[in-house]
């Protein structure tokens, strides 16, 4: 190889793949982070804490769905499975053997990743709808099994005993919601950092290649099916952390709650709403939907559940037709246009 092309290669390698964000954005990011860190001291009400905890929890769920859908282009319609596995893993380990939920968190992630591999390996080598249907069937199958499995409490589920000693060891906080707030905030930051990092790694780049041009990616020696499986496993593990947190937060785990189909729907909707395949889309989706859902519940009372879902369904439909790249794209496209004209 000639020296000239080596120089060109090195110049190309030296060029950053991800251009640095404008400084204003970095400061905005730090500002939001600082604001969220002191938020519970500005708004001290229990409901305002609960609201933000739910936003963080849903942002993790959405980000998890975003990894599989946004980064590898596959639609999962049964993401609640991983939420439920995470919740059951930590609750069961604690109830049956007194193992701390911190270990349960990791165990849930491992189990979810294995379950994801089990669904993904046979279906992800086929065209997309095989996978979507498989996740739908798997989601319902797991729920049926847990509803009838006596060892895990069958349909009535598991009630966690109230423990007041060693709150950070047993992950139960009864005096205030503050520890839950920072716990969910921390998990959420980690989830977003993982995706941020993933987007900058070779793995993330290969995933985008697999999503956008599977044939071209395969011709470059990328194992397309295997990359989709890896994305699905990461996604499952991430969803599982949300489930474990939820189990520790409400202290009740039952199949109708943690394997609820609505969880799968919500994860999908938040991402589609915010912006699929973007880092901040899931956060935007969660920040819009969670308050909307909490307030419709208080307005409509008991039947709020179905009114929610009617709105969600219509929203998904409308976004798919009119703004398939999500709300975030309205802002980013305008920014890009401004940069281009400069």
């Amino acid at each position: 190889m000639s020296k000239k092309s080596n120089a060109a290669l090195e110049a190309a390698l030296a060029e950053p793949v991800w251009p640095a964000a404008p400084p204003a954005f970095t400061w905005l990011g730090f500002g939001v982070f600082a604001l969220l860190a002191v938020y519970p001291f500005i708004f001290t009400g229990t409901f305002s804490h609960h609201l933000m905890i739910m936003v963080f929890l849903h942002a993790i769920m959405a980000q998890s769905w975003n990894v599989v859908a946004g980064m590898s282009g596959q639609i999962s319609l049964g993401h609640a499975v991983f939420f439920g596995l995470g919740a059951y893993a930590s609750a069961l380990l604690y109830i049956k053997w007194g193992i701390t939920p911190w270990i349960g968190l990791l165990a849930g992630m491992a189990i979810s990743a294995l379950a994801a591999a089990a669904i993904g390996i046979p279906t992800l080598r086929l065209r997309g709808h095989y996978f979507a249907i498989a996740t739908l069937l798997f989601g319902i199958s797991v729920q049926i099994v847990f509803q009838r499995w006596d060892w895990v409490g069958a349909a009535s589920g598991i009630f966690m005993p109230i423990v007041r000693d060693d709150p950070w060891l047993v992950l139960q906080f009864h005096g205030s919601k503050l520890p839950y707030y920072y716990l969910s905030f921390g998990l959420c930051v980690i989830a977003f950092a993982v995706v941020w990092d993933l987007q900058r790694r070779r793995l993330g780049m290969r995933l985008l290649a697999v999503r956008d041009e599977p044939e071209a990616a395969a011709s470059l020696g990328i194992d397309v099916a295997w990359h989709k499986v890896i994305a699905f496993m990461i996604s499952g593990a991430m969803m599982s952390t949300a489930g474990t947190f939820f189990a520790q937060y409400v202290l009740v785990v039952d199949p109708d709650r943690v394997f609820n189909f609505e969880i799968s729907v919500l994860a999908l909707l938040m991402v589609v709403l915010g912006g699929i395949g973007t880092l901040w889309g899931p956060a935007l989706g969660a920040a819009i939907l969670v308050p909307l859902s909490e307030f419709t519940r208080t307005w409509f009372g008991g039947t709020g559940g179905t009114v929610d879902l009617i709105i969600y369904g219509i929203l998904i439909l409308l976004i798919c037709i009119y703004q398939p790249r999500g709300l975030l794209s309205i802002v980013t496209e305008r920014l890009r246009r401004r940069v281009d004209t400069k």
């Binding site: 069937l137 879902l309 009617i310």
Partner: protein, 288 residues
Amino acid sequence: MSSDVIIQAIVSGLLMGLVYALVAVGLSLIFGLMEIVNFAHGEFLMLSMFFSFWLWALLGMDPLLSLPIVVLALAVLGFATHYGVIRHVLNAPMLAQICATFGLAIAIRSGAQFLWTPDFRSVQDPLVAGRLEIAGIFIGQPQLVAGLVCFAAFIALWLFVTRTETGLALQATAQDRQAAAVMGIPTDRMFALGWAIGLGCVGVAGAMLSSFYFVFPDVGINFALLAFVAVALGGFGSILGSLVAGVAIGLVESLGGVLISPSYKLLIVFSLYFAVVLVRPMGLFGRY
């Protein structure tokens, strides 16, 4: 276990299987035409059962007699779905297509729950009721009629698709959209027709089911899931495959219920899907 129980299970599985086959063929037809999986298929089945139920409850029409009205209503709904939703995502990425029909499903199902509550309803004193006894085997008459009507509808569909000019145009569109358009086939109208026929099939199945099955907003889910398995087993886009697979699933479901456990019969059918995907992803008769 006596052989009577087995034969009984085979007969009732066969009759239910014919209903599943008709639901599945609608799904398969739509997929074959435009490569879109209709995730709202079960919800349309639920709507047709409610149509049929309300015609009985409000006007006193028996489900068997109101069949043409229900089918017509569902066909109109099929046109509306195509022109209102599907047309706009036809060239969109698969992601948008799946989300669109999925969103439609959620909106319809929760809308039904909001309007009609999650209560179970049923048609009282249908025209055909009771059961026949042949050599110790009991056959529910409504089930028998449902199976036969669905089979007849299936034959009619098959004749339409293979013997008429419009049917051939449908097949041409399914094979190659662009080539069909070049030949002067109005592909957009063919797509709409595909949706009308697909939902019309669901209409027949729903109307027949409503005379012996409970009617409630979530009723469509299980039928749709079984239809997904049937379509995968028969081969996406294959009409004959849907018939064979639908009947096979009816048999697996009822035999599994008798031989293994009734509460796990859905799981047994679902595992069939994973077996198909592992062993023969193109299904029995399909392309993939």
